[in-house]
Amino acid sequence: MTPLTRTELDGLLDGAARAWLDDALAEAASHAAARTTAGAPPSPPSRIPPWEVRFAAAGRCCSPEHADAVRTLLLHEARADLKTLTRLYRQGAAAERRAVLLSLPRLVDSSAALPLVDDALRTNDTRLLTAALGPYAAAHLDSHSWRQAVLKCLFTGVPLDHVHQLAVRARGDAELARMLTDYAAERTAAGRPVPPDVHRALALAEED
């Protein structure tokens, strides 16, 4: 996903939502600043930092269609580190978990956030599956997990267009080709149609 910029988002939000986002981003920025100031007192663990309350409330304050964009912007502005991302994912509703997954390519430059991707790929929630299979997974997911994820998309009806760099990672993958062939055979034996995405992925995997 190419995250929306603040300017693009402003064009989509109404006045009240824009004002809310101004305040939310300011809170996120001051959180980021406080963290980098030496000796800044940590907020008491029982209190939720204000920007995290905004993170949770983005759907109702900026509408669900823009919640992904607003939340990823907040994470970026707060310069959320892996520890924060992990906590927000674990404590988040599905929509918040999506935003954390969508932010990984921008905020985490190692494979250290893979446990979050793995968690999302274990679910059957297609909102999480699609968010988990972006550029971060394309860059860091090991072959076995990646093939399983592709197959899971086919099982849960997630279009393979959501798998970032499908063609690059599938090319010449003989094991993926075998799995797809077996899956197609299983569908055919059961008298069920083979989804067009299976043929498409198979063609990619059989390329040299």
Partner: protein, 293 residues
């Protein structure tokens, strides 16, 4: 007939139920957190349950064309187990979630001091978070339980017009109505109310601030009881608009007090849809389409 079931425990129901509910006209519901039949022994199992009410269950409901919201709380029964009471301290981080439209269900089970504490604390949480509260009346010793509930409500920061008193019956409806709270009737096959008794109460007490729910759960219950009440109302001479008020507009108004109600869930996918069963729900279709690359 469009139906909003303001109290139903879908975690305990099947996809057949979701299909039948959609066919009967159910387009929205609220799932209050409650006891699971088997007592829990640690806060962590509550958190997994809350996560399910904020994640998997709305996803399931959306696939069947039904908008799912929830009410979260520590239920009165388990408020008596000191192993579970730390849930109260964790509730604030759950009550800020977008699909949480009330604190609930709270109230009394055995009317113990621990239940007094949990009820008062959670009414305060509702007030602090701008949420209404779903307060059930106890199954045993109901009338005394209602009066004790009303005493606690009067001392709380939550005004009565932000409280839904549930599981009411003929003996409790009058004092409940006099309190200024919203009135909930649960229609349950053997216990609680049946549809004809609810219609009789509606005739006597009117339709204002009145909600009807199935309270369907893991017990012998019926998720289509809301529809049965609508049919019984029509058979008894109520107009379509009256049915709509009780089964749709009243619950929308009550839970709308949260400012978090979203009712725009598109119809379910038809069989043969290329997205297949389990495909991305359309209600987040835009963001999902943007989410890929």
């Amino acid at each position: 007939m469009r139906i909003f079931d303001p109290h139903i425990h879908m975690t305990s129901r099947t996809t057949d139920d979701y299909e039948a509910m959609y066919a009967a006209g159910v387009r929205a519901l609220v799932e209050p957190s409650f006891w699971l039949g088997q007592p829990r022994t640690s806060p962590a199992s509550f958190f997994d349950y809350f996560d399910a009410l904020l994640g998997w269950e709305p996803f399931r409901a959306a696939q069947h064309g039904i908008a799912h919201h929830c009410a979260l709380a520590l239920n009165p029964k388990e408020a008596n187990d000191p192993r579970c009471t730390p849930v109260l301290d964790a509730l604030p981080r759950y009550l800020v979630k977008d699909s949480v439209v009330a604190v609930g269900e709270i109230g009394y089970d055995s009317m113990t001091p621990a239940e007094d504490t949990a009820l008062a604390a959670q009414l305060q949480l509702a007030a602090d978070h701008g949420l209404p509260a779903l307060v059930h009346t106890p199954h045993r010793d109901k009338l005394a339980g209602l009066h004790r509930t009303l005493d606690v409500l009067r001392e709380s920061a939550l005004p009565p017009d932000r409280v839904l008193l549930d599981h009411l019956n003929e003996t409790t409806v009058k004092p409940a109505a006099d309190s200024g709270c919203w009135l909930g009737f649960s229609v349950y096959p053997d216990t609680k109310m049946d549809e004809d008794r609810v219609v009789a109460v509606l005739k006597t007490h009117g339709l204002a601030r009145t909600l009807v729910n199935s309270a369907a759960d893991w017990g012998r219950s019926d998720p289509l009881k809301t529809r049965r009440v609508g049919d019984a109302m029509l058979a008894a001479g109520f107009a379509d608009a009256d049915v709509d008020q009780v089964l749709w507009r009243n619950p929308v108004e009550f839970y709308g007090l949260s400012g978090r109600l979203r009712l725009d869930v598109p119809p379910p996918q038809t069989p043969g849809d290329p997205r297949g069963v389990g495909g991305p729900p359309l209600h987040e279709g835009n963001s999902i389409l943007r989410g890929g690359e």
